[in-house]
Symmetry: C2
Subunit: 224 residues, 2 copies
């Protein structure tokens, strides 16, 4: 029990240090007029595919950069190389989430005087990425229909913390064990004000709504 208490104390210190650094980063982004999104999902929900679809639709209007969080490979970063936008790769060396110190380090390889939007692809995990503030303006919770409708209630922190939920792979809805009514009923309980976009990245469904959402948020921050 003493060990458990010590671990909780250590975890509280880690979170407090993380939050304090995140607040610094948020101030910096405010001064530099950059909007930053933190994209969180299970492995394989379609985060990188969403980025592949998003970058070409935004890069003519805005100066975009990506921060790629991955446990140990550069597979996702490689997939984004074709777009000629700055991609900063963070290998977490086994850690299951990004922390604000990693983002600070990634910033050193980006030209912050020449950016409007940074999208951070967090490590594929619904638990810890929701706990660690990285200085973002908004967390995006991405869920895909084959994962099942119970993820909102099973991983509520993410859906409480998120500003937008994207339900991806709706093209697989008829094959998946996913009850749309149960999904929305759970969201109503956990976070009634959460925006939701139903999407099929594969079939370009819902991408227009997403691009519109991002553009509005960027303009709102820049105008502010």
């Amino acid at each position: 029990m003493a060990r458990q208490k010590m671990q909780i104390k250590i975890m509280q210190n880690v979170l407090a240090a993380n939050d304090s650094k995140a607040a610094e980063l948020r101030d910096l982004l405010q001064r530099k007029n950059i909007f930053m999104l933190n994209l969180i999902s299970s492995p394989g929900s379609g985060k990188t595919t969403l980025l592949e679809k998003t970058i070409p639709l935004l890069q003519d209007k805005f100066k975009v950069a990506i921060i790629e969080g991955d446990v140990e490979t550069d597979r996702d970063a490689q997939r984004l190389e074709q777009f000629k936008v700055p991609v900063a790769l963070i290998n977490t060396s086994g850690a299951c989430h990004l922390e604000s110190v990693s983002i600070e380090k990634a910033f050193t390889s980006l030209d912050l005087d020449n950016l409007d939007l940074i999208i951070v692809e967090n490590v594929g995990n619904l638990v810890c990425p929701a706990e660690f503030d990285i200085g973002e303006d908004a967390k995006i919770a991405l869920l895909s229909t084959p994962e099942g409708d119970d993820k909102v209630i099973k991983y509520p922190l993410l859906f409480r913390e998120a500003t937008l939920a994207i339900l991806n792979k709706i093209d697989l809805l008829e094959h998946a064990n996913f009850d749309m009514q149960a999904f929305y009923a759970d969201l109503q309980k956990i976070n009634a004000s959460l925006d939701v976009i139903e999407m099929s990245c594969k079939n370009n469904v819902g991408l227009d709504l997403w691009i519109n959402w991002v553009e509005k948020k960027i303009l709102l921050k820049i105008a502010h």
Copy 2:
């Protein structure tokens, strides 16, 4: 940098304490002639569905218990209530993985003198559950086709540590972005001796192979 070094040191201590407790549990299971599996996957790959299909096929031959790891709900434990086997629920209070101390605690609610098989459903996460030994005889890595074929190379530790990989939802193969050749090529690189079962829990495909695998392992341990 000093803080990072301190965190690494703390993490090493946590892992060492966990491993030492796991070794104790492994000895205990050996003495009690119980075979224990540690089921690991992303959220929504089908761990609980696999248990729903598995329990009825084993419970006539073996005395089975389940340990359910969940971040904060009892949703999965509820789904297993119908089977009348002992289910011990561990809520991790936000933690993204099970540790051996949690398993030790769960053991106190199980009758270890009256069991042949314990299946542990770990928290849905491909990262940390692979790092924490819980005293199991074997880790099972469950992956589903909609998650994509790149998960083996992106989360290699799990596939290195696993004794068996189950590729679930092969009924969705034609709709998923999953290259079977790439999947097997990556497995060959990461863990060439890993057993693989292709499965569709939904359509009862591959369940016979899985049940056969489990039965053989139990008998091997009991006979030993």
